[in-house]
Amino acid sequence: MIPFPATHLSILERLRGGDPQVRHAAFGDLAEGYWRPSYHYLRLQWRLAPEVAEDAVQAFFTVAFEKGYLEKYDPSKARFRTFLRVCLDRFVQNLQKAEQTARRGGLAERLPLDFPGAERELAERASVDLGDPDRFFRDETIRALFGRALESLRRACDAEGKPQVFRVFDRHDVRPDDETSYATVARELNLSVAQVTNYLHASRRRFRELILTHLRDLVADDHEFQAEARDLLGLEVEP
C-alpha cells in the first residue's frame, strides 16, 4: 500500500488557516515547487532577460504572499497550476505597464532560489515547444516535481546511510544507456543482481511516495490532488 503524505491539510487550507507559521510554511512549499517552472516560463514564453526573470519570480512570490493573491483561488474555475500561471502573467503585465523594473530591492525577503542553476538548465535544452503556454508551464511543473522528488530520494538515501540505493536508481532508471541492465549496473557498482533488484524495488516505491508528497504541496485541495495524480502519473489516488 502506498503511504500517502502525512498532512491531510490541503495547500489552500494551510494558506487560509490563519496561523502565520503554517501559512508561511505552505507558501514556502508552493514557492519551492513552482519557482523553477515560473522562471523557465518567464525566460522562454515572456522572453525576459535572466536577471529580469529572476527578479520577477522573486517579486511575484513575495507580493503574492504579502497580498494574499493565491488565497483567492476558486477551484471551480481552473486547476491551481493554471491559476498561478495566470496570476504570474498578470503580475508581469502590470510590471511592464507601470514601466517598473522587475528588480525590487525593497522586498523584505528574498527566497534562496538557485537561479544560475535554472539558467544552466535552459542552456541544456535542445528544443522547446512554446506553442501552448499552459502546456509549457505544466511540463515544467512536472519536470520540477520529478527533479525535487529525485533530490529528496538522494538526500533520504544519504541520510539513511544507503547511498548505493540511490546510485542504482540513478544509473538504471534516471541515466540508463542502450546497454544498461540489472547485470551491467551490478557489475558497475560491484553489487549482485539480487541487490540491484532489491534496491530498485525499494527506490522506485520511495520515489513514487516522494512524488505524491511533493505533488500534494502543489495543488489546492484533495480533488485537484486526485486530478493531477491522474494526469501526471496515471494513478488514481485516494487522499
Binding site: M1, I2, R36, D114, G117, R120, E121, E124, D139, I142, R143, F146, G147, R148, L150, E151, D173, V174, R175, P176, H201, R204, R205, F207, R208, I211, R230, L232, L233, G234, L235, E236, V237, E238
Partner: protein, 305 residues
C-alpha cells in the same frame, strides 16, 4: 537539482507507475498501452517461458472502484472461454495493493488498423461474424461488453479475431449499484442511446447489438451494401432497445441467413422478392430439375409417333 530531460521525465513517470510484482514469476518488459482503468505491460512469464500481457489497475489502493472493476474484468474473462475472447492465465494483488491480471499476449492489429486490408464485403463480413459470435457467446453466459468498437477488436497474424477490453463489461446476474444513474460507459459513435443518456446500468445485450450495428456500419462505410444487409444494420441501430435484435445470437442467426441467401428477419420482403431469393438460393437444384424436365420433354417429343 538534477536537470531532467524530457526523456528522463518520461522514463521516471513510467518508473513511478511501474508495478512491483510479487515473487519472480513475472518480469515487466515494456509498456503496451494505457486505458482509463489500468495499464497493460508486456511481461515475461519465467515459469512457462513465454511473453504475456499484464494489466494493472491505476488505483494504488485496494478496494477502490477501479480495483473492483479490474477484478470483475478478470473474472468475466475467466468465465468466457471462447476462441474470440482473450484468455486469462493468472491474477493477483501487488505489494502496493493494486490488482493485476495476466492474459494472453495478442499479437496483431486492431480492427481500426486492419480494416483497410479487408477489400471485399465477404472479408469484412467474415470478421464481423467472428466478432458477433464472440459477443453472442458472452451474452449466452450473461455478460454484456458495453464498449464494442474497432479499437477493441484485434485481428491476429493468422486471421484470429479477438474481442478485447472487457473492462466495463457487466454480468447481468449482478447488481449494478456501482454504477449510479448518469454513469456513461462506452464510446461515442458506438454507444447505444440508453448508454449515451447515462443509463449504463440498464444497458443489456441489446446495447451490444447497437454497437455491433455501428461496427457493421463502420466496416461497410463508403459502400452501398445490399438492401437486406442494410436492414440488418438498421435493426441493430434502432433507437429503442425493443426494436433491435434481442441479443448477438439473434443477430448472428440473421447474418447466417443473409450469407446463405435466405430471407432475413430484419426485412419484410414481398412474395416476389422472397421467391427471387428462393430461386437464387436453390438455383443449382432448379437448373438440374429444369434440365431434367427439358430432357424429358425432348425425349417425349422424339418418341412421338
Amino acid at each position: 537539482m538534477t536537470w531532467l530531460s524530457n526523456e528522463a521525465v518520461d522514463r521516471l513517470r513510467d518508473v513511478a507507475t511501474r508495478p512491483e510484482l510479487p515473487g519472480d514469476r513475472y518480469v515487466i518488459l515494456r509498456p503496451l498501452g494505457r486505458g482509463g482503468m489500468g495499464r497493460v505491460y508486456v511481461a515475461r512469464d519465467n515459469v512457462l517461458d513465454r511473453e504475456v500481457a499484464l494489466k494493472v489497475s491505476n488505483a494504488p489502493r485496494a478496494s477502490t472502484a477501479l480495483d473492483e472493476r479490474l477484478k470483475q474484468e478478470a473474472r468475466v474473462l475467466a468465465a468466457l472461454e471462447h476462441p474470440g475472447i482473450v484468455p486469462v492465465h493468472d491474477s493477483g494483488v501487488l505489494d502496493d495493493g493494486r490488482v493485476f491480471y495476466v492474459m494472453k499476449l495478442v499479437r496483431g492489429r486492431t480492427l481500426t488498423e486492419h480494416a483497410g486490408d479487408l477489400t471485399s464485403e465477404a472479408a469484412r463480413l467474415a470478421v464481423f461474424e467472428r466478432v458477433t459470435d464472440a459477443v453472442a457467446f458472452a451474452h449466452s453466459a450473461g455478460v454484456v461488453h458495453r464498449d464494442l468498437k474497432p479499437a477493441n477488436v484485434m485481428v491476429g497474424a493468422f486471421g484470429e479475431v479477438l474481442v478485447l477490453d472487457w473492462g466495463v463489461a457487466r454480468r447481468l446476474d449482478q447488481s449494478s449499484d456501482a454504477e449510479p444513474a448518469g454513469t456513461r460507459l462506452g464510446t461515442v459513435g458506438f454507444m447505444a442511446p440508453e448508454q449515451s443518456r447515462g443509463d449504463a446500468a440498464s444497458a443489456g445485450p441489446s446495447a451490444d447489438v447497437y454497437a455491433l450495428g455501428a461496427l457493421l456500419h463502420w466496416l461497410l462505410r463508403g459502400e452501398t451494401p445490399p438492401r437486406r444487409l442494410r436492414a440488418i444494420a438498421g435493426q441493430c441501430l434502432a433507437a429503442s432497445p425493443a426494436d433491435r435484435y434481442p441479443d448477438a445470437s439473434a443477430l448472428a442467426a440473421d447474418l447466417a441467413r443473409y450469407r446463405q441467401g435466405a430471407p432475413v428477419s430484419a426485412l419484410r420482403e414481398s412474395a416476389l422478392e422472397r421467391g427471387w431469393h428462393w430461386v437464387r438460393r436453390h438455383q443449382a437444384v432448379i437448373l438440374l430439375v429444369l434440365a431434367y424436365l427439358v430432357m424429358r420433354a425432348l425425349f417425349a417429343f422424339a418418341r412421338r409417333p
